[in-house]
Amino acid sequence: MTVKTGSPMVEMRDIRVSFGGVHAVDGVSIDLHPGEVVALVGGNGAGKSTLIKTLSGAHPANSGQIFIDSRPVTIHNPIEAKNLGIETIYQTLALADNIDAPGNVFLGRELRTRLGSLDDSAMESATRKVMGRLNPRFLNFKKAVGWLSGGQRQSVAIARAVHFNARVLIMDEPTAALGPAETAQVGSLIRQLKDEGLGIFLISHDIHDVFDLADRISVMLTGKLVGTVKKEEVTKDQVLGMIIMGKLPDEVTQAELADLHG
């Protein structure tokens, strides 16, 4: 699908993160090109969230390197990531439940009037605009987001990542709480953003969504990268084999594949 030319916009090389003795991420290397969706898959606790948190500045890596446009960078905190054009939708959503949708979308980057006060009207207006693109049925702009449904909250988190014209979007299970219509909406949003040239890391447990949206698939198992494959070159079963057994497609026997289906 996407023609990969030139160097990647993001390259993470040999990233390691450990918590106490646990190697949550153990020497993983992945990359991302403009206009590309790379799916990051793996079982629970495989280390997907931990890996991308080193890119979004939420958590430091113990070792490894990150290159943006082939230049080495160190990302110490979320602000530095955002300044590099990296926006993140966290698995936990990272919303302040007591604050309304516009307040959350602009959290840490509030619009202000000339006198330096919060410009709530401008923030609400901008939020209505992004939401229109994302989830037109979202109308609760005045309620604290803690009062909203899981799907509406997720919409707020997505709106925040999309509003600031990111170059790189990290989506950690962005549709986990969404209904079918909203999931489809996010799917078409991802395609649209991809066409605009954004690079997207998509973490998902839904293998159908992954095949639907991704160009390449990176599989993790217990902190290690099993491998990265092009979507057109593998079947869903082969990817399942990588997720569960940690074996690349050509290492798996027919018998083992059959086993996957019980």
Binding site: S56, A58, N77, P78, I79, K82, T88, Y90, T92, L93, A94, L95, A96, D97, N98, I99, G103, N104, L107, G108, R109, E110, R112, G116, S117, L118, S121, A122, E124, S125, R128, K129, M131, G132, P136, F138, L139, F141, A144, G146
Partner: protein
């Protein structure tokens, strides 16, 4: 997506709920006003008709000021999921420092009753308060000791320090200009100025309603119905002007009025000369307005609430959470210093027991005013109203002649009930 402006017809059924909804009035705030009315009428009856008199209400307003000033800061502390148990002791040590400075140190340098004494004292006190608060905040935010422990330590340390500063002596009297901060018959602004402030407040209410409306129309958001806006404006103005009328119907003591009239070559009018709003009350009003502005219109306030709502989200949003926490405690210390100035000025003395148990009144005021101990929720206006409720209870009990130990029992029970109501309310809302 922009919703059409909702300036449509009234809802078909005018239930009380929909009326309040249209005016966007908080039911909790209303509950508090209701509680206040019950307390006032109750004490009025129990005291044989002496509670709801201009004299008593004027005194009540003065006594409420210090607690209200500090409660506005406590709201922000509790919103960030912290607590400050040291405010009473900080009030003690800052009050003693200001008393010593103006009564024993500055006179030696500047001479007695120097016109600069009061302002130097006040500024030094404010700095000291902010510094003590910042010190607490530093240990809490950067060292990571829970605020409960740090300020519990502060409660003991600063009370001890207040004693040690003068070996327990009472320092009096205060500088004559400084005394004006405390109210009393000279520390007030007079009748005409009080009316002027009332009128300005009314214009302010109308102005903000209009600006809010224009802003919402500009962005095409839903508008409150016109009748709701008008009702809000009328209620607001009636409350403000009514309060001024009550305050202004409390006259100066006769002797003072005669002296006052003689100085100006006028006759004392039949109704006497109004004292007007007391300085500490004016200070409390200014503090409450400034704190409301800070909490709702400035980034700092937004960050305070974000930290209370979800500290992790605040961090991921790039908010400097530690610095923000430190600043809330510094602000608390600053407000305690204002409270200390008002209190020492009113007592015309500094004592080592100054502000004892104030932390309980301040925390109770914030909590009764709707600040949730779970963090993330609270309003400045609620806390100010909560302070009025607490002070009404206490003054009422004094007026009725309830013994001091029994007063403490009542205050303690009210505090627990307030938190229980908050807990139940939140549990119901969570469903």
């Amino acid at each position: 997506m922009v919703t059409a402006p909702q300036e449509t017809a009234l809802p078909p059924k005018r239930s009380v709920g929909s009326l309040l909804g249209a005016m966007e009035i908080d039911t909790r705030l209303l509950g508090m006003v209701g509680a206040l009315v019950v307390i006032w009428i109750g004490f009025h009856i129990l005291s044989g008709g002496t509670f709801l008199t201009p004299r008593n209400l004027w005194n009540l307003s003065v006594q409420t000021a210090a607690v209200a000033i500090m409660a506005t800061g406590m709201v922000l502390i509790i919103v960030t999921r912290n607590i400050d148990l040291s405010v009473g002791s900080m009030l003690g040590v800052v009050g003693m420092s200001m008393a010593l400075l103006q009564a024993e140190i500055l006179p030696g340098i500047l001479g007695f009753d120097h016109p600069l004494t009061w302002i130097i004292t006040l500024i030094a006190g404010l700095l000291l308060g902010a510094l003590l608060g910042a010190f607490h905040g530093f240990i809490i935010a950067y060292v990571g000791v829970p605020s409960f422990i740090v300020t519990l330590g502060g409660l003991l340390v600063w009370r001890g320090a207040a004693w040690a500063l003068a070996s327990g002596r009472t320092i009096a009297p205060m500088d004559s200009s400084f005394q004006l901060l405390g109210g009393g018959s000279r520390g007030r602004i007079g009748g005409p100025a009080s009316w002027a402030i009332g009128v300005i407040a009314c214009l302010g209410i109308v102005f903000f309603l209009l600006v809010g409306r224009r802003q919402r129309r500009k962005f095409g958001f839903g508008l409150r119905p016109v009748w709701a806006e008008a009702t809000l404006a009328i209620i607001g103005c009636v409350v403000v002007l009514g309060a001024v009328a009550v305050i202004n119907s409390y006259p100066m003591p006769e002797a003072l009025a005669e002296q006052y009239a003689a100085e100006r070559g006028i006759e004392v009018p039949p109704g006497g000369i109004a004292l007007g709003i007391a300085n500490p009350v004016l200070i409390a009003i200014v503090v409450a307005l400034a704190m409301t502005f800070l909490a709702t219109r400035r980034r700092f306030g937004r960050y305070v609430f974000a930290i209370g709502g979800n500290p992790e989200a605040a961090n991921l949003g790039g908010i400097k959470t530690k610095r923000t926490i430190l600043m809330t405690f510094a602000l608390m210390g600053f407000l305690v210093a204002i409270g200390a100035a008002v209190t020492t000025a009113r007592l015309n003395a500094g004592t080592s027991g100054l502000g004892t148990l104030a932390e309980l009144y301040v925390i109770a005021a914030a909590v009764i005013g709707g600040t949730s101990l779970g963090g993330g929720v609270g309003t400045i206006s609620g806390a100010a109203l909560g302070a009025l409720v607490m002070q009404s209870l206490q003054s009422g009990m004094v007026l009725v002649g309830v013994d001091a130990p029994l007063q403490d029992i009542v205050v303690g029970i009210v505090l627990v009930i307030a938190v229980a109501i908050d807990t139940l309310y939140r549990r119901r809302v969570a469903k």
